[in-house]
Point group: C2
Chain length 195, copies 2
Amino acid sequence: MTKPNPQARERIVAGAADMISRRGLNATSVRELAKFAKAPLGSTYHYFPDGKQQLATEAVRYTGETVSAALGEELREAGPVAGLRAFLALWRDIVIRTDFRAGCPVLAVAIEEPPGEDIPAALTAAAEVFDSWETLLADSLRAHGTEREQAAQLATLVVAAVEGTVALCRAKRSIEPLDRVTMQLEALVGASIGG
Amino acid sequence: MTKPNPQARERIVAGAADMISRRGLNATSVRELAKFAKAPLGSTYHYFPDGKQQLATEAVRYTGETVSAALGEELREAGPVAGLRAFLALWRDIVIRTDFRAGCPVLAVAIEEPPGEDIPAALTAAAEVFDSWETLLADSLRAHGTEREQAAQLATLVVAAVEGTVALCRAKRSIEPLDRVTMQLEALVGASIGG
């Protein structure tokens, strides 16, 4: 029996997040996810007995929490514009570091049709992750004087625009879309808090 | 031998665009694409002898041209805000009509890692489609008085934000993200042309 090992478990989750962002969920098997994370298939099934949906759900939540930690810290310590910059920098780093091959696993999961009528757990997790990023941004905007409705709209625009921009960058193999969107979003967030 | 039939050919391309937007490209076979379009597998290979990449490339271009036709007409006849509304309405219709199951095949192709070092034709087509939508929007903004750099940035923001918002709507099974982003983008485009 595999001895519980939080590091090994987290390495599999992080690997799954990376691979799902590259290839999508439908096209990826647990076997491939295990291989990509350099984990034995047996221990992968030990940690994730329910298979691909369980691993994908945890990968989506892991990405959500990692990004929220970085975004939340900057928002608290330095305000909305700095938070936005941290959010953008995080995606810029992933896209450039992987030569435009990886992006956001939450987006990848979000655009795959549920196989039946039931909503898969990973898709629900994706919705929750988007909500959590929007809420962090909206709360910070409101704390810096933005009116409630404007804060909610702008937060959704930021999350949607960044997700879409990562896809544009990957298709074009260029960071220029992110540079352009950064200029626009920084101006918007700055104006919204009167900065 | 299959008799050339432009309608049959286009039906396969349109079906492929729909299915790729639902399930991604990696997870989809030519057999499934043919079945989804209710076309015999033989005639599908007859029209697309190079297989999945060829069909996917045409599906991406077909989406690009369909959207460009609607967007371009509104931009020419009624200006940037009307063009933006037509662009948004098009995606809203797809998302609602399919109960949040379909979206944009260009985005789906854009976020799948190339299998090797070569850039697949469908990915190149995706980059060209994003460029074409951005160019239509940017040209119209400039024709209505927006400065060149601002027009380019805002056009990229619109395309990226709409692509990302469709993904947010699908994850949340709600049209609210699109409503919020619509308000923000209409205000931005309006202000940019002094409207």
